[in-house]
């Protein structure tokens, strides 16, 4: 190890030598002398080293100067370099002590010349026209050097003095505060010396540009804009370098920008910290991969959506009714009926959402049908209807917008796949991690991401028998269709039977016959998903795609669930509507009787309403509240089941596996029960269907949204704890697609499905006559019509009448279809254009790379450009003289070397190279580095394959 290290050190020293050579004003004798000495000392040192080393370094030296010299240089940089050279000089060759003095002298001289130039430029920058500037500049140069030098020094001293002040202040501060705060210090100091130097340099550069603009081979437009830019710049920053006010102002500005930057950074951090559960999700992601994290992201998104829905429902419906509506117990619909009063507070009843719960703001029935309530004349029934519709509208909007945005995001991941593993290996660690826990997470996340990439890679490299695979896939789909059809029929059959049972006397039925539907449903839910998973093994998809299929299939299965639920509900509703009709008739008849009796008895037409306590009033079944209760009960039982499953299926299992493993006859952890995996598909679908229930139920039970918000909140914590504590990562961790549009698609479908029954009930079913905001209306939407008729000006009513005319609706629908068709076509065209552009960009980039890497170009401008490019090779290109041997070697060695065993692509590339080599002006398709190799090769040609051109660093051993 040590000798190698020294080697590297020497190289660094050589770089210094290179620096020295790079002096542009090397014409002075001093310089030349110095350089030769430099070289001498170097070679002395190098003698100890391996010979190859020396060659290369010398090559470096010889090669560098001409290239560098060709460049234009500002005198400013010389000043910078001199001390640097001095510093390194000390390190490399302490024997020449006169070096420093020389350097100083030269530095002073340079400063003089520089000052003159600068002054001239400063003067010129005030002028408007270019010509004058140049003229002036020339004149300016003629001004005596000494004067300028003095001026310059003064100026500098001033600047430094200021700086010193700053620093002193800062020092005091530092002493008082602890030394650990990092960024605040640099912010305090408004203008550091380095910055001033940089600024000076920039101003200098700009001035130079202004001076030489005339000679540039650019278009007039470009020249003008550049000139303007440069002038602005000089004007702006000249003040900073000058004295007094301008500088202070500038310093203030700089300070403010720094403050602003810091503030922005802090604000960004703050924003990140404000994203709820970001850290939790990241932690899960680092251990379980992006697929599991995608579920939690979805959950979080859902939580946000529900929060907004809750805001709507609560703010526009629940709160007004609580604040401005009649209090509890004032009217029958807000009172617990007499026969239920005894049990109304029982826990079992409350838990079933009966009793007081049933007659609370949670449910539809509680709301009064007064057209306006409170002093604000708030139209509650109208708001109830519009909010319920608005919830659907908003959800649709958000889901579709999110899908569209995600689709955009998914598009640009195309060109990442070039150096996946190298990047992961070299750049994935975050060097700012100092916390052991974070470090653990980072380890886990790197591992996971490697695993994900491995799975992707395996998938890419799968060499498959396409016919067999196709057959298996068709076969698997057939099997799954069969089982889906079978379970669908089973559900249909069972539901039908249950309807028959419902007609019979419930006492004659057994327990099984009573609960047959639920039993069959949960059995199907238990058996089918694993069955599908097993069948999906046949298909051998990438796990990401397999997950989508699995999701789709279970979704289809669960639709049956939904169907039975709605079916049962609908039966209940029709039954309730019947009873309600009879009760309504009876009540009306009773009232009629009462009025008739009263008027005949007292002989008056002014009949007061019957005095009955609200609790004693006979009332209808209020089917809306019934439906709402069903939904609420369903959600609650769903929550219970989910949480219990996690507790038993994951936690208890993990507990047993972990602790019983010490005294068990086989390895529980590796063997049979093992730890559970996180069930992505089940959880996602659970979430989706849960949301469907919320959408459907929110109309009948406005409090449902609030309950759902609570549920999502708890399950976020609970599940993320459970997954970290009890589950193990999937065997094949795979990368989820960045957009979880598939989940969104399912959600959209469910949203649509849940929209149907609600709208149907709004439009066709008659609302209960004695409960809810729409009581007394024929249909629920009559509230809207009523409002239009009574509260809005007449012409709006007319507009609505026209708008609802079929003659207008048909063309509107037609227009919409046409618009969809048009937009679809346009989007396809854009997609096409997009892919074309991508291709073009790829090509352009490769082209550029080739050009950049072609170091053989003799064009001066091109060389300059190349030097500006950030990537210069480690091994410098060889001197021009060494070209011929390279070509020879290439021609003779390459073709034989590369042909055996290399991939097609490699051969192609290398062929191109060997073709390109003889003609130096042609583009070469590889890095400049390899050309460092040939010198080594010329000396000791290595015949074995792979030791060829591409080894810039090989000879350095």
């Amino acid at each position: 190890m040590p000798p190698k290290r020294r080697n590297h050190d020497i190289i660094e020293v050589e770089n210094v030598g290179m620096d020295v050579d790079a002096e542009p004003d090397s014409d002075s004798e001093e310089e030349a002398r110095r350089r030769s000495r430099n070289r001498r000392s170097k070679s002395q040192r190098k003698a100890k080293q391996v010979s190859e080393d020396e060659d290369e370094d010398e090559e470096e030296e010889e090669d560098e100067p001409p290239r560098r010299r060709g460049r234009r240089k500002t005198t400013k940089t010389d000043e910078d370099e001199t001390p640097q050279r001095r510093g390194r000089g000390k390190r490399t060759k302490p024997q020449d002590s006169d070096e420093d003095e020389e350097g100083d002298k030269r530095r002073a001289a340079r400063k003089g010349s520089k000052a003159s130039k600068k002054k001239a430029a400063k003067e010129t920058s005030d002028e408007e026209s270019e010509e004058e500037k140049v003229g002036r500049k020339k004149a300016g140069r003629a001004v005596s050097k000494k004067e300028k030098e003095e001026q310059n020094k003064e100026q500098k001293g001033n600047v430094k003095g200021k700086d010193g002040e700053n620093k002193d202040k800062k020092k005091k501060k530092k002493m008082s505060s602890s030394s650990s705060s990092s960024s605040s210090d640099s912010d305090e100091e408004s203008l550091s010396e380095g910055e001033i130097a940089a600024l000076k340099e920039q101003v200098e550069e700009k001035k130079k540009l202004i001076a030489t603009l005339r000679n540039k081979p650019w278009r007039m437009n470009k020249r003008l804009s550049l000139l303007k830019e440069a002038q602005d710049f000089v004007e702006k920053f000249e003040g900073a370098l000058g004295k007094g006010k301008g500088r202070r102002l500038y310093a203030f500005k700089v300070m403010m920008t720094k403050k602003l930057i810091k503030f922005n950074r802090d604000f960004e951090n703050f924003k990140t910290a404000c994203i709820p559960w970001e850290r939790k999700i990241k932690e899960v992601e680092s251990h379980f991969g992006s697929s599991v994290a995608s579920y939690f992201l979805f959950l979080r998104w859902m939580y946000g959506l529900n929060l907004v829905l809750f805001g709507f429902m609560f703010g526009l419906v629940v709160l007004p009714e609580v604040l401005m509506g009649l209090p509890y117990g004032s009217i029958p619909r807000k009172t617990v009926p007499r026969d239920e009063e005894d049990t109304a507070m029982d826990f079992s009843v409350l838990f079933d959402f009966g009793g007081y719960c049933k007659y609370s703001i949670l449910f539809y029935g509680y709301y009064n049908n007064d057209r306006t309530i409170g002093v604000l004349q708030y139209r509650l029934p109208l708001s109830y209807l519009l909010t319920s519709v608005g919830v659907f509208g908003y959800s649709l909007l958000v889901v579709i917008r999110t899908m569209a945005r995600n689709a955009n995001e998914g598009g640009d991941g195309g060109d990442e796949g070039e150096f996946i593993f190298s990047w992961k290996m070299f750049t994935s660690w975050d060097y700012l991690i100092g916390n052991p826990e974070t470090a653990d997470n980072k380890y886990a996340s790197i591992t996971t991401s490697f695993k994900e990439s491995i799975v992707d890679e395996q998938e890419n490299q799968k060499d498959e028998n396409i016919h067999l695979r196709r057959f298996l896939r068709v076969f698997a789909n057939f099997l799954i269709l069969c089982s889906l059809g079978g379970s669908g029929y089973l559900i249909y059959f069972v539901v039908k039977r249950s309807q028959e049972f419902a007609k019979m006397d419930p006492k004659t039925l057994t327990w099984f016959e009573n609960n047959e539907v639920e039993f069959v449903m949960s059995l199907l839910g238990l058996v089918c998903p694993p069955l599908f998973e097993t069948i999906a093994e046949l298909e051998d998809y990438h796990p990401r795609i397999a997950l989508k299929w699995q999701l789709g299939r279970i979704f289809a299965l669960f639709l049956g669930n939904l169907y039975t639920f709605l079916f049962a509900l609908f039966d209940e509703v029709t039954a309730k509507l019947e009873t309600e009709k009879s009760i309504k008739n009876a009540t009306e008849w009773a009232l009629h009787q009462y009025y008739a009796n009263y008027s005949s008895f007292y002989n008056t037409t002014d009949v007061p309403p019957p005095k009955v306590a609200p609790a004693d009033v006979i009332r209808g079944p209020c089917w809306e509240t019934g439906v709402g209760r069903e939904f609420v009960k369903l959600i609650v039982s769903d929550v219970q089941v989910t949480y219990l499953t996690i507790l038993v299926g994951d936690f208890a299992r993990a507990f047993i596996v972990r602790f019983l493993n010490y005294c068990w006859c086989w390895d529980l952890e590796a063997g049979f029960p093992s730890y559970g995996e996180f069930d992505i598909s089940g959880n996602v679908l659970g979430l989706v269907f849960n949301q469907g229930m919320i959408w459907m139920g929110a109309f009948y039970a406005p409090g449902l949204v609030g309950m759902n918000v609570l549920r999502l909140l708890t399950s976020m914590y609970y599940q993320s704890w459970a997954v970290m504590a009890c589950n193990v990562p999937h065997e094949r961790v795979f990368k989820a697609s960045r957009s979880n549009n598939f989940y969104m698609g399912l959600l959209l479908l469910v949203l649509f499905l849940s929209l149907l029954p609600v709208v149907y009930s709004m439009m066709t079913l008659a609302p209960s006559f004695d409960c809810g905001p729409f009581s007394g209306q024929e249909k629920m939407y009559d509230v809207v019509i009523e409002t239009i008729d009574q509260d809005l000006p007449a012409f709006i009513g007319n507009i609505f009448i026209y708008a609802s005319n079929p003659g207008l609706i048909m063309p509107a629908i037609l227009l919409m279809i046409l618009a969809i068709y048009y937009l679809n076509t346009v989007s396809k065209a854009y997609q096409q254009a997009n892919t074309d552009l991508k291709k073009k960009m790829q090509m352009a980039r490769e082209d550029e790379k080739n050009r950049r890497n072609n170091k053989d170009s003799t064009n001066q401008v091109m060389k300059d450009l190349e030097d500006l490019m950030p990537d210069k090779s480690l091994a410098p290109p060889p001197a021009e003289e060494e070209k011929p041997p390279e070509v020879v070697i290439d021609k003779s060695v390459k073709p034989t070397k590369t042909k055996p065993g290399t991939a097609e692509k490699g051969v192609n590339v290398q062929k191109e190279v060997s073709l390109a080599a003889p003609n130096p002006r042609r583009p070469v398709t590889r890095a400049p580095g390899p050309r460092g190799g040939p010198p080594g090769n010329t000396r000791s040609p290595q015949p074995q394959p792979g030791k060829g051109r591409g080894q810039g660093a090989a000879p350095r051993r």
């Binding site: 030394s179 960024s183 550091s192 070299f426």
Partner: protein
Amino acid sequence: MGSSSSSLNNVPDGQQLMQETGFSAAHLLRLYERFKFLDKDNRGHLRSEDFEAVPELSENPIGDRIVGAFFLPGQETVDFSSFVRVLAHFRPTEKNRTRAGAQPEPANSRNRKLKFAFRLYDRDRDGKISRTELLQVLREMLGMQVTEEQLQSIADRAIQEADLDKDDAISFDEFRKSLEKVNIDHKMSIRFLE
């Protein structure tokens, strides 16, 4: 140049280091304070144990290599000037400064940064990252989580990706190429040295 150098006086070779590395006086002062902070016994130099006190380094999978990069070959200690010279690699590059024909590559250029990173992986300093060297890093980074077989395939794959001349090792050029699109200037910069 009065007062600025007086504050720099405490720092050994202050002016010289400033010019050499491009750090401003304030940065140097700060670095010096940090240096003294790490140097618990005021010996004027640091040992590798001192570096291990930095949690960021002790947590890093290749932390020991980074620490090793501070030490000149054969030396047990590092003094302030070499400390600063190594850190100069991490000085952020100035954005708005076109280095049109300016100085020779400063230590914080992209190339030098990359070279520094490359040396961290190139353990035996032969100018190439070999398969075994990659495997070492991978083992430190992934540990027991991944099977040995997979580790090897990752290493093979990484080499295959970056290796252009088919010598089963990654040379600096290949390393540079593979990281062409990575924003090294950003990644290998210490913010407070701006």
